[in-house]
């Protein structure tokens, strides 16, 4: 039995496996299938200052080994989250509140409201599916630095994770911009902007035209980007992108991640996260690894 616990910004997670934002709601639905207190934490659905309606449907499409989504950050708003879900979720596991906004003031407002109430805040400046806000803040290093600094000023008591977009020129430069802005940790990658076409109708499948690509097919690109980010900064990195099993998670840890998030696989296999946790324990035992945290950043390049 390996020690699966990890330390993220001074907070202990019982294991490094966290369902990724947007695939898991606030945890209640999955808790009907399995007890989610087994998870290292839960990254919530994106939370805005006020309720958002999201994009028209269809919001999802599938391609070989991947899916595309364009939900558009539909969410009930921060007050409803606090009133209805926060206490319940905190009683289960570590809460990583994913924060979305259309303006910097939106991000500031949510961070201020949740400061001290959650275990982590995760700044989503990388959603490709909303017109303003979202990824608009996460492309250029100077914007990343500004939104991070202003958000961090509002949440001095809660570690701030900045979630990075892969749709950028330089992962290392953006990672460093977030670190300089005061980020306590990074998470990456969000989804890749993609287009899926219904060739009979000669139209995009998604109502939003483009959507974010996720799933097993993006994993090697994500692992490379996590490696680049982890080696550009000194703050911890949470890795994600196409993880379907414990061995995938081990790759991200070796590339430099302290913890991992699992997204699309929650749709393919509702019990994906507990299976990955069990699989990590088994992998460590078979390989004589006493603590999963020993795996982080152990990759040696050829």
């Amino acid at each position: 039995m390996a020690d699966l616990s990890v330390n993220l910004c001074g907070v202990t997670l019982k294991n490094p496996v966290i369902p990724a934002s947007g695939t898991f709601g606030f945890g209640r639905e999955f808790d009907e299938i399995y007890d989610i207190s087994c998870l290292g934490g839960v990254a919530t659905k994106g939370i805005a200052l006020t309720p958002w309606g999201g994009n028209p449907v269809p919001r999802i499409a599938e391609s070989r080994g991947v899916i595309l989504n364009a939900v558009g950050l539909q969410n009930p708003g921060v007050e409803k989250f606090i009133a209805e879900d926060l206490a319940w979720l905190k009683g289960k596991t570590r809460v990583i509140a994913n924060v979305v906004g259309r303006t910097i003031e939106d991000y500031e407002g949510v961070c201020e409201r949740l400061n001290g109430l959650v275990d982590f805040l995760e700044l989503n400046i990388s959603c490709p599916n909303v017109r303003c806000g979202g990824m608009a803040f996460g492309i250029r290093p100077e914007n990343i630095g500004e939104v991070t600094a202003r958000a961090k000023a509002k949440c001095p008591s809660t570690p701030l994770i900045v979630k990075l977009s892969p749709n950028v020129e330089s992962i290392p430069r953006n990672a460093q911009a977030a670190e300089r802005g005061g980020a306590d940790a990074l998470s990456l990658v969000n989804t890749f902007t993609g287009l899926a076409i219904d060739i009979e109708r000669r139209r995009p499948i998604l109502a939003n035209n483009t959507g974010g690509v996720s799933g097993a097919g993006i994993k090697p690109i994500a692992v490379r980007m996590v490696y680049e980010a982890a080696h550009a900064v000194s703050i911890p990195v949470i890795g994600m992108g196409g993880i379907t099993c414990a061995e995938d998670a081990v790759e991200f840890l070796m590339a430099g991640a302290v913890a991992v998030q699992v997204g699309t696989q929650n749709f393919t296999d509702t019990r994906a996260c507990p299976k990955i946790i069990a699989g990590l324990n088994e992998w460590c035992d078979v390989h004589g690894v006493k603590a999963v945290s020993e795996l982080t950043d152990t990759l040696k390049l050829n």
Binding site: E29, K45, V57, R59, N69, V71, F267
Partner: protein, 250 residues
């Protein structure tokens, strides 16, 4: 709601592009009429949402149309004895009040299959009138399971069998005579729109089961929303798939 590993008992073509899949769960599962399942297909990241047609103890039958790669793989690769990952039972299902004795069901296309579960459930204690629309004779299937009620009208677009026209047209010819207490409907959106306008002002509740592309199927991902008439978004998988026809924008 749970995730099970089921065993395929039968997976066969029953009409043009339509397959009937019967699987056995590990134990008896209570499924309400109008509920659905999410079936995992190996190699595809998303499960396929399919309405339950029949539920008899641990034996459950769903019917699906060959639509894309996933349903084709489901038809091709899941033979008798194969294991199948299934999430079930999902959604709210139809709900008919004790006092509602006359039930009309109006279906079209693959929308007829969830209505078969309603016919099976309600024909024991109520009068059920069924209006089922198909493209043509080649697509007619499961007639035996539709004949349990008081009346069955088969409608075809080309008139090759039964009523020449849509199931809505056939139903509207009879509605004043049968005076249903409630109408249950499922089918393509244009059909549901036609039913909505035809039933407008009649003061008979109409419940429709909607279809949408889904992610998780359990209400977490907010992918499969429909617009409600009050402007809010409802989750088809969790708040639906059945809605009162005047509550949703079609």
């Amino acid at each position: 709601m749970r995730e099970i590993t089921a065993t395929v008992l039968e997976n066969k073509r029953i009409a043009d592009e339509i397959y009937s899949l019967t699987f056995a769960a590990e134990e008896e599962i209570a499924v309400r009429p109008g509920q659905f399942v999410m079936v995992g297909v190996g190699g595809f990241p998303l499960r396929r949402p399919i309405a339950v047609c029949k539920a008899e103890g641990e034996r459950i039958t769903v019917c699906y149309r060959l639509k894309g790669g996933g349903t084709r793989a489901l038809a091709r690769e899941y033979k008798t004895g194969e294991k199948l990952s299934v999430l079930l039972p999902l959604g709210n299902g139809f709900y008919v009040k004790e006092s509602e004795k006359k039930v009309a069901v109006v279906g079209g296309g693959v929308g007829i299959f969830p209505l078969i579960s309603a016919i099976r459930a309600y024909s024991k204690s109520k009068q059920v009138y069924a209006y089922m629309g198909f493209r043509s004779r080649a697509s007619v299937c499961m007639e035996f399971d539709m004949t349990r009620g008081e009346k069955l009208v088969i409608a075809t677009d080309d008139g090759s069998v039964g009523f020449h026209g849509t199931s809505v047209q056939a139903f509207m010819q009879d509605v004043d005579e049968i005076k249903p207490d409630v109408v249950l409907a499922c089918g393509p959106t244009p059909m549901l729109r036609a039913l909505k306008s035809a039933m407008h002002g009649r003061n008979i509740p109409v419940y429709v089961s909607l279809e949408e592309r889904m992610g998780c199927g359990i209400g977490a991902c907010l992918v499969c929303v429909c617009e409600k008439t009050d402007g809010a978004h409802a989750r088809v998988c969790k708040d639906g798939p059945v809605f009162e026809i005047n509550d949703v924008v079609l």
